[in-house]
Amino acid sequence: MNEKASSLKKGSVLVVGGGIGGMQAALDLADSGFKVHMVQKDPSIGGTMVMLDKTFPTGDCSMCMISPKMVEVGRHLNIDIHSLAEVVSVEGKPGDFRVKVKCAPRYVDPDKCTGCGDCEVKCPKKVLSEFEQGLTVRKAIYSLFPQAVPNTRAIDKDNCLYFKKGRCRLCQKACKAGAINFEDNGKEIDLHVGAIILCPGLDRYDAKVRGEFGLGRWKNVVTSIQFERILSASGPYKGKIKRPFDGKHPKKVAWIQCVGSRDPRNANPWCSSVCCMYATKQAIIAREHDAKIEPTIFFMDMRAFGKDFDKYVERAKNEYNVRYQRAMISTIREEPGTGDLLLRYAAESGKLIDDIFDMVVLSVGLEPHKDAVKFAKIFGIDTNSYCFPVTSPLQPVQTSREGVFVTGAYQGPKDIPETVMQGSAVAGEAMALLGEARGTETIAKELSDEKDLTDEEVRIGVFVCHCGINIASTVEIDKVFEAVKDLSGVVYVTDMIYACAQDSQEMLKQAVRENNLNRVVVASCTPRTHEPLFQDTIRDAGLNKYLFDLADIREQCSWCHMGHKEEATKKAIRIVKMAIAKARLLEPLKTDTVGVTPAAMVIGGGIAGMTTALSLADQGFQVSIIEREKELGGLLRNLYHTLEGNDVQEFLKSRIAQVQAHKRIKVYTGIEVKKTEGFVGNFKTTLTDGTKIEHGAIILATGGIEYEPAEYLYKESGHVITQRELEKKLAMGEKPKSGGRFVMIQCVGSREEPNQYCSRICCQDAIKNAVAIKQRNSEAQVVILYRDIRTYGLRENYYKQARDLGVIFVRYEVDKKPVVEREGERLRIKTWDYMLNKDLVMDADWLVLSTGLRPHPTTDKIGEMYKITRNPDGYFLEAHVKLRPVDFPSEGIFVSGLAHAPKNLDETISQSLAAAGRAGTVLSKDHLSVSGIIAKHRKDLCMSCLSCFRVCPFDSPYIDEEGKVAHNEVKCHGCGICAGICPAKAFQVNSFRDDQILAMIDAAVECETVK
């Protein structure tokens, strides 16, 4: 794309917002040769996801997933985080933007601060914690949450006693690093970037506006985000579910859905997309915390439209006894003096019921930030009437201004995986825009030669950190010093006030050189955040970075044994001894590298495959598309319009033309893949016609098919058709007759065993066609028989439009499905009406079936070929449901489109761009380095029993040309499951070898060698 302009394009990208979407975009870009500036208005990155306790539908801990990503972003050589910062102006054009950023003063110098937190302890001023949603307090000098990145405290000027009264400065006295700077004036920086990515996320609806729910008045009414914090083990109640009113454990807990959503009169008209699922999750997790809790969820439509969501709701009902009550609550009243809450609702029978609950959770919706209009103006992008940026379903992450992309909930309400997908998608778009400028602004570290350790005896240096007083006030450092100084192999011991401070790093290097140390043990904090720092330092001193071990005597000792000096010191000594025992056996590890073929193979020539191919080709890579059918286009060939009215056939035609004209794309039609050999970066594929292709990445875009119904007289009567067939009729110009009646049945072949999943597209298809009928002839009748209308996000508008146009919606339940009979030429449909509480019988000219989607029949075969698991419904199972939605455990293979799960066109396009972004991170590298921490395989011990081959989640053991088990170290992640299961002990994981673990066990008890 635009090769001649390449010299003018910048190789850097501005990411505005540090939530999970922004982090994903930043990491993908920085990992593939672009410099990233991340602007974040809070003192820490993390966004909304860090506030969540667990995530649906897997129940994974949210912080456990996001924290390593935050650390990665924080440490990335090519990502600059500008926190407490806002963009004030943007000028220029795609490839060349000039951006002014204003950084508010932090009053703490990040270069000096070690993040020890001593200042916070001393600060006398307590402020309600925003992060904990006002359920507890923080200090005026604070960190947003314990795992904050950057880990530099910030002073909240509005609450600081010094700033308000001119006296205090206790933090300054407490800070041994001298990092407090009350004279900080903030700064303005000018950035020069090639593309801009907007991911500021969304705000939550302020439910206090709806006085009838009593939020802020009745103490036991909390918002869903407050309840997340209540559930969190690190939250205000330490994971105990308590009522704010009296601290009592609640028994009956109610969730009220759609607070602030789907309510055009009082609040926001859109559906917030995530509340049905998070309420279900909260109910499940609450029950897991306390089995006595009886959860009730009051809802309008259960919108469990995502992958495996319906199964999750079924589990909530059947295994956790969560009661789902279809009713809208209009008011909440407190029973005076008790804190209990009275809810009145209309039951299915129409009877009014008063029910008392111990606690009520308001499932608050999502809405754009208050300053959304100003924000959009700064970036010069158009917004719709709700202040969301204008995008098109065909270009879901492109704003009205070229070169400015949007991702995440700001684009429209969405959950974590879709946000992550869009994060990778915008990265893909930015890579395609700036392809040629890749690598022009990034830096790489120059490294000196490593010291040769052959024949050297073990010389360990031990560095014990005080961490200010964090460790030293609980652990007696001198005793640790004494206890380890005479251990075998230890030649040097010292202590440091802050081992991680810049000057300490220099001291450490000097100590290594002067004492000829060849193993280093630092006793300080957790290896999860600090190991890479010390490893870099000893590498600078000429040591292989794996000759290092970190003894965690802070998080796992001083901080949890405060006030128990003697025990804590004893334990700290033990921990350091264990690290020394391991250090004696550490060996330098070589990290090999392999080359990368800068080309991709895309299996499937539908819109998913083509979108990915075009993006990758624009990024500068060769792409082969393998399509088994004679022509490109896939399922989209049968689609004429989107719900929003875009002309799909026109779009498809132009896409196919673009693909066929692209000089870097080669299309193979009527051909399939015969076999693929190799691994990430180095695949070799043979096609059924004998063609051989070499490529570095694989994209599986094998698509899906539409379910062909066997029910409701389909194929028996010519008047029973599918939505797709109706769409075609309408597209061909058919005008519905006045008085003609169309009856549509939803969920045909979906949401019931054995296909217990939502096909996601059918509600919109039905509404799209219903609106089209009504617009062509308002005298035609349309009745939609549905189970739940799932027009999530901004699609809700069209549901409203359909109702306004007079489309009739009648709900049915799966155990009382509509019955269709033939009455001569006409069809007669009988269904139970829950509003009237009686059978409804209607005649229809056309019965339209909303049929679901199924995985493509080739999915299983392809899955077996690439060893990729399918979920129970037959769709490919991604590497991680939340954070790796387009990856697979086997590296270098990505998924996009319906092969992953049913989804709409805009979502397919987003995911396809994401696959291109992810593949771009692999293909842009000259070589891939193999991690040092991998399993080493000894072929001489191996008996090829295949135990490892069968359990490895990354597919790294394989059967070689000789028919024996061999091990591909490039694919290995070093988890060591192979080592655990191998009956021959032919596997040992570097730095976690059996002898090292056994030595640590020995050191954990009294079996220590003294020199």
Binding site: C945, S947, R950, V951, C982, A984, K985
Partner: protein, 226 residues
Amino acid sequence: MIVGEQKPFEEIWEMIKSFRKVLVFGCNTCVAICHAGGGKEAEILASLIRMKAIQEGIGMEVKHAAIERHCEPEFFDPMMEDIKTNDVVLSTACGVGVNFLAERIGDIPVFPGINTQFFGAVPKAGIFVELCAGCGNCILHLTGGICPIARCAKSLMNGPCGGTNKGKCEISQDVDCGWYLIVERMKKLGALEKLYEIQPLRNWSTATYGGPRRVVLEHIKDIEGQ
């Protein structure tokens, strides 16, 4: 491959508790693959025995070792002196290994640590199934490659019997009827009519009913003069 299963620990303990120097001796071929008696399992078993001895207040020295195969002398002969320093050898090899070592070790007892089960295949990780009975007179060409001796509970040559039940055997609903499998397989091969041929009474002398078996290669017969 030969499939075995470790004996219950109590049974092993009863065997060896009166000895003071115990060697747990693993075999790194078949029984290692089925996670029953390789070097790794020998090490685990030795550790368990040591702890049991401490609990029982018995002074016992327990070592462990393993070799490639217990069924060939060259592998353990070099270690024989070391092995003989023990009071007992608990072999986790298959029965073949136990026999073979016992024959050669002299007056030290060799006890079995595992129950040797059958010749098996590994259809999936951790699952071992019997497919051949080693009867010494193979008729798999007549039965579509499915052995009626090993896979029919009655080892019928002209099945199935009246106990076949919707593809399952009368002994258990979890056991496939071998003859049902044979019929289905022969259908697929288009060779069902072959099953109408009645198989004559079988000569079982090639199986263990004819006494211990022995195979000697032709060229060896010449050398050994047998």
